[in-house]
Symmetry: C2
Subunit: 341 residues, 2 copies
Amino acid sequence: MADETVLLGHGSGGTMMKRIIDDVFAATYGSEELAQGNDAALLPAPAPGERLAFSTDTFVVTPHFFPGGNIGRLAVCGTVNDVATSGAKVKYLSVAMVLEEGFPMDDLRRICETIREVAAEAGVHVVTGDTKVVNRGHGDGIYINTAGVGLVPAGVELSGANCKPGDAILLSGTLGDHGICIMSQRENLSFNAPIESDAAPLNGLIADVLAAAPDTRCFRDPTRGGLASTLNELGAQSGVDMVVSEDDVPVKNVVRGACDMLGYDVFQVANEGKMVCIVPAEQTEAALAAMKANKYGADAAIIGRVEEADETRGPKVFLETGFGSRRILDMLVGEQLPRIC
Amino acid sequence: MADETVLLGHGSGGTMMKRIIDDVFAATYGSEELAQGNDAALLPAPAPGERLAFSTDTFVVTPHFFPGGNIGRLAVCGTVNDVATSGAKVKYLSVAMVLEEGFPMDDLRRICETIREVAAEAGVHVVTGDTKVVNRGHGDGIYINTAGVGLVPAGVELSGANCKPGDAILLSGTLGDHGICIMSQRENLSFNAPIESDAAPLNGLIADVLAAAPDTRCFRDPTRGGLASTLNELGAQSGVDMVVSEDDVPVKNVVRGACDMLGYDVFQVANEGKMVCIVPAEQTEAALAAMKANKYGADAAIIGRVEEADETRGPKVFLETGFGSRRILDMLVGEQLPRIC
């Protein structure tokens, strides 16, 4: 393929579009289903009783490449993780690209190659897609939307509305790595230790935890808005308080230092490879052991507990500090770090 | 809601994002499934034997509002139609927005209200979504990605690879309305008669045709690349020639005039509310009658036939003119009209 950059014609519906689909998309992350060549992918009938899980996310991060990954890795992990939080086996992915005229074809190939790798690791097939090209100066090089479909086995009933007083709050690893990585790349800051994005597919970790702790209430990944927003959402859905012990939350020293220096609250910084998990007290140790045994859960920790909410003030999230004080951990209001995913 | 324009914070994952979701998205096209509030929508188990159909499309058209619709109408119709071509009952839609900082909130509400209307007409539920906000000067006001999931009843086997010599080619209405509408808006051209986009959900029309002509080979909507690209795709998938009789192809006079004046080939102009349908000869009249009885098929016509391809030169699409001549109808190569969907 001679084209070295993306051209408007690659989004035309004509032979140039057929070429970019065949030579770039199908050649990297193609699948049997994608090769059907119809307007919709036809997928096998689920087993009797299997429900569907469906989620979507668009990725607009800049820079497109960063330590620990690129926008393609995010695009697969983000949607795989969202679908997996339902307890689903994540099966099928759509990949829709909005490319800016002039985007380097080599960068596109690298991103597509990453999509192939991560999809293979997560065990999902890219079965359908779309390509649009916008004029130079619009878009931002590349935006990627993915939507994912999973199959939820009968009997699995996870929801953020299931949390109960007495449950434990587990976190699968260190906070803030992705957001601080992107920010430091964008601002050209360098630290003593490299900060890598944590972007990772966590469907395997979720399956491991569910096998070890089958009464797990819910999973949620603390992406935009960070842990603070995730816990506030879960607390509000279940009508309960969440109490986090600050000293128990794993944070890398270099990330903590960057947050202190720059005035970011690590509890509001985005993560792309971490999972919050609410587990009944008696299954906490089993869930933690399962997390730690997974390659993406080595730093997992029990970081807090669910408590009854005060009826008059409504559900809140509290942070207990090492000095014995308690402060309210609010949801992020506006934008701390734009374009991190 | 006081915010009059979209701000970066509306994509933050925090309380501002919660507000735009609650007050704009859920308030217009919300559904019971969207209200679950988890990271993935949990959807009922399909009936035994029902297969899944899955498709996606991103919409980047400018202008966002045009005679006959807006980007929201396109975003629903485009994906509904793609999923419906598989013979599926179209059930679930994701809506993922990329908004530019400063986009007027009133325009967003109008677009969301349209999404609600068209989704209701098509009988699909918006069950999951995503919101990203990009900096001023990036994106292009609004991009919308939709992905759709449908359920294909047992026994329905449609594919572009099914076409056989002797089959008839049906078209559900006039060619070129959408592409010429967008182009004339963008270039500020005015014609004697108004040109409206044909954007329409065609899942009902497809169901009607399938009921009347159960051995229908396939459906495909001639969007980007127009009828020429669609027929070339189908011909290549099935290894057959497609022969179109020019005089039988319905085209509005004003669209034909605009194409002549501007040098566009109407066979390569995009449509957003038309369906090509390949039907075995003996069911042609039944399929045509079903199309004509549908509100979106009044101008339907039999426009050609499938023929055996010459083994040495491979499948081709031919246009037979009124003067008895035959010319090859090629696939669009590059870009005729950018940003039309």
